[in-house]
Amino acid sequence: MKRFTFLLFLFLVAECTIAQEYFPKNDGVKEQNNNYTALTNATLYVTPTKVVKNGTLLIQNGKVVASGKGVSIPENSVVIDLEGKHIYPSFIESYSGFGIEKPKRKGGGRSAQYGPSREGFYWNDHIMPENNGISSFTYENKDAEELRKLGFGVVNTHLMDGIARGTGVLVALNDEGNDAERILEDQSGQFFSFQKSVTSNQSYPTSLMGSMALLRQMYYDRDWYSNGNSDTKDRSLEALIENKNLISFFEAGDKGNDLRADKIGDLFNINYIIVGGGDEYEAITAIKHTNAKYIIPINFPEAYDVSNPYMAKYISLEDLREWNQAPQNPKVLSENGISFALTTYDLEKTSEFSKKLQKAFEYGFDKTKALEALTTVPASLLGQSGSLGTLEPGKWANFLVTSGDIFDTETTLFQNWVQGAKHIINEINTKDLSGTYSLSAAGKTYQMTLTGEVTKPKMEVKLGETEYPSKVTYENNWIAFSFEDKDANEVYRGTALIPSKGNIISGRLVLPNGLETSFTANKTGEAKKEDANKKNGKEEKPEVMPLTYPNVGYGFSTLPKQQNVLFKNATVWTSEESGILENTDVLVKNGKIEKLGKNLSAGGAQVIDATGKHLTAGIIDEHSHLATLAVNEAGQNSSAEVTIEDVVNPEDIGIYRDLAGGVTSIQILHGSANPIGGRSAIIKLKWGKNAEELIYDNSPKFIKFALGENVKQSNWDSFDRFPQTRMGVEQVYVNYFNRAKEYEAQKKSGEPYRYDEEMEVLVEILNGERFISCHSYVQSEINMLMKVAEKFDFRINTFTHILEGYKVADKMAEHGVGGSTFSDWWAYKYEVNDAIPYNAAIMTREGVTTAINSDDGEMSRRLNQEAAKTIKYGGMTEEEAWKMVTINPAKLLHLDDRVGSIKEGKDADLVLWTDTPLSVYAKAEKTMIEGTIYFDMETDKAKRSQIQKERSQLINMMLSEKEKGGKTKKPMKKDRIKFECETLN
């Protein structure tokens, strides 16, 4: 690679005018031009922070020779006087698809494709590190021009498709040169994302967690392959090995994915340059902790059109806020010392870049930082600090000539020089016409005023007090205008060449009747700076809504704190031997249940009078799909390599709603798309905390298995994935566990082995280190799985759903497996035809540890009522019923030493109820986790009115934005996916 750069360098020193020196030339004769160009008397930004007044920039053959003050100008120099003008290093676009066409989506067949479409490459089509952007690169003059207009001189581009995308190209936007000159790097880096390729229909991965697992396995396989362990050829892995030392760019796309990409990088010692999503300000501490460098889009959302209140109501506070808060992202990032480049990527129109950048300035983004984020930072991210980003000697002569401060809205960008080639954006010698004129035309004298940007003046024409609507254009020193006498419905058109000196403009006038005559305009004075008022207005900082935790409706403005609390005189449902205790006090200290008894002294703890109320342990839902961004990795019949812990979503409003229903812990299970599903996340519902903080410390390890109709894919048209029958399901397990045993043996043997994340997980199961919670319905399959486990000498931990558990409850008790079931669901598919609501009671009486679960965000928030149904169906006692949503699920999750009952020393995860907790009339008044109150009915009331207030404030702001002529978009409501086992996502 080094060598290649060197060669490239050799070609390029010869520079534009003489192309490659060893190429024959037949359309003329070969001549050289080694003259210098000296740009003098400019305000010269050698770097974003090194500014030289009256500086000189001396360039030759596309490179900077000297820059600064006291530069001696050689005799053979073309000197350009730039008095009053500014020179900046030009911008670098570090993330783009410039010149590399995105492939079209491949039309899909009706049934899923599980295998790869390629041979001799990686087993997954979405891994394409062997793609080299250079091989499909075509320089696009039009796109180059658009970027140059915005000030960009160099672009880093790649094929934007797939999870591993291959290498990119670094290109100078030099229209004068050809690809041999302007391509600065053939392999500027390699590129990754979580998004599948559109060129293949291979199913895997169907989820974000699947993408993550795939990337991890890809790196494991790279290392294994590089040790020469493979008997077959894999061009993808070979490319990955060859490119190992290239810079890796990762398109993450939002704050959560930034962290996910970083997590993968940490595992393999890769410092990804992360392409963010613009919402990093919401999780700035975690973003900072990644220590990664970022490329940040500034696609700030437009305001919603909220003029119709019936439509406005559909927009969530979260989305309203995003409009208001997102423009602070660059400011927040830079204030936190995070190194980032800005990109035009993700903008609907590239041309909006300047406008969006101005918005960031309004929000307080520092202009010097902005200049760095467009020059020195991207140069350094690209490893090109030696040749790009500043105007120090030896670097590429890539620079901008402007009329003033580059980020001032009034400033005109005149020229964008790339590799020493001048590209004109606006005529530099354009005379400033602004002023007031007396216009004599067709026997009348009008007052004419010209204002605004030099090259884009605005015109006003008046006769006495009457204003005549008018238009004007000014190009190549020619002015053309028209104005209309509305009353007479007459249009006058004029055109004139602007003289280089003097204050008189005269030219041709076309009268309404078509006759041609002449006009004269005499300058009578200076025009008032039209933007003076507007500018003052702009300096006023926009009102930015404070962030909440999480930054959605019902978030906390400050995180609640752990406190010592004495619940006084409650009816305490212990979920222990002691049963239900009347008039009892519970003392909570340092997040634990300190003491349980009568007439306890508070000793400084806050006293909550619980007279007439009921205190219980927090409800635990063994089977939930809340608070996750994905449920199923459905691309294969086993997906043990994925884990829900990778995709926990702490911002799901379902968390808050569950708290309001007295739930404090949930197991987020993988779905039931495949016999061997993914690993669980077991979390506490600490609303406002981040994903890592929600997950239990030293969490017991769980994995989801599934049986029956879903894994057979019986209820939709899918006929080509094994298994299609319950007979096949057994063989999937037997096969995987056989392989896991072989894998473990190989691993222990000391021989080289291919690290396989999926097998690692299965080995954990065999060794009793990871527990299975298995989705199950009919007795045959329940029995089968127990027998498979016994054959491999381990035990199934939990059968979840287990609607025919009552038919094999004796066998379950003998095996030692627990049951986590619905209270009364049935009739929704064939395999639940024999589901009965007496199931929980029968299993309990047979000695099976039984829990009532939800699998549903609605039922989850009233599991207390579902537990009560076991009293109706099967005659459980109140105590037995209550245990089914507290200590029993805690036992099933191996958390009963920490949660699930009111016992001294356990976590203070408590709920104060208004009524007996099994009643449909009961409401959770306070829900506490580890001594911190996360839900309180009173606080909830305050939050409701706060939401209403903030919504109306934001809606008013959007209305005034629309009035001011700002762009708006239509209201929209997010599609909230209600996850269940069967959600294929």
Binding site: G553, D824, W826, G874, L918, K974, D975
Partner: protein
Amino acid sequence: MRIFKNILFASMIFFGLQLWAQQTPAPAQSETIILKGATAHLGNGNVIENSIIVFENGKITNISGPSGPEKMGKTINIAGKHVYPGIIAPVSTLGLAEIDAIRPTRDFDEIGDFIPNIRSLIAYNAESKVVESMRPNGVLLAQITPQGGDISGTSSIVQLDAWNWEDAAVKIDDGIHLHWPNTMRRGRWWMGEERGWKPNKKYEEDAAKFHSYIANAKAYGKSDPASLNEGFKAMQGLFDGSKTLYFYADGEKEIIDGITSLKESGIQKIVLVGGYEAYKIIPFLKQNNIPVIVDRVHTTPNADDDDYDLPYKLPKLLADGGLTVSLNARGQMERMNTRNLPFYAGQVIGQGMDKEAALQMITSNTAKILGIDNSYGTLEVGKSATLFVSEGDALDMSGNIVTHAFIDGREVSLETHQTKLWKRYANKYGQETEE
């Protein structure tokens, strides 16, 4: 032929078993029944402690306190228990599907946009295992309703213990069900559109289609002699008030647009179904005399910023505003969940609603809305003896233990496919099944 015979034989066994699984409908009431000693919740807001309820030939002939008249007949002592009118499930698809995922069992959604002539009654499966599972929870009547499309069809009201649909019918072809268009439209992401809800550009156009269909139906009624258009014919009762229009809408604007337009079309009786935002326009609904059948209260709020308990308290908000409110069980797995109707009323009580007023939302209010209040919905002399007895508070899960249920005076079986399996396996393990 032999094969055919074998198949026939096999299927006879199969269907035989299926039939065996169903409970036999009770015969007509032959002797006077006296229910003694329970707390009677009349369904009209009143309660009689220690009550005596007498019914003969299917009709209630006495309901009073302990000092009521002595009657000869079968006396059932239910002291300490509670009696309630049979719960009525409005806008229900009970009996129109057996197993949700199995297409051959689904009969509630016909194709076509405007098909008022589609009649639910003839597809109602009186022997459904799901239907029989209603009775042990006190749900004894239902309005069987086609769903889907714009005008889905015509409903009928049935009682839930019958040999066939004809015997089950309580009120035939009582109403037409109309689903008003939505101002928001969901992006068809599976077709490459952006996910999420966006304004429906065709809302006005969609609404105009309803207007046009109804205007044509009305004009048809005046044609003489009428040409044959079953759809228009089915609509006629709406203009003379003999049929009710069930109008499904949730948004404030949709409700206002729909009701205004339907009233202008000359439709006499309109009932709002759903009404998620009805609480914002109570005066409008009151002024137009519109009752509301609120969708299942056990649901999550539609919007993230909504009160977490909005679906729970919506019926109360409407009732507090003076509207007639009833509860339905529509939603996910709605057929099997219909047995939870009493608990939906219980949920509203949890929000501060008076207990007897909440009971009305699943009994007398529903009867009134469906137009069967002359016979059903309350415990009153002269009305049908359609009622049930519960060990405890029937609106709370742990209290709803139904010991007796009567439809038109007939004591119906409380056994189901589920209780049989329960007993079968409890017996296997030597567990008790007495409650």
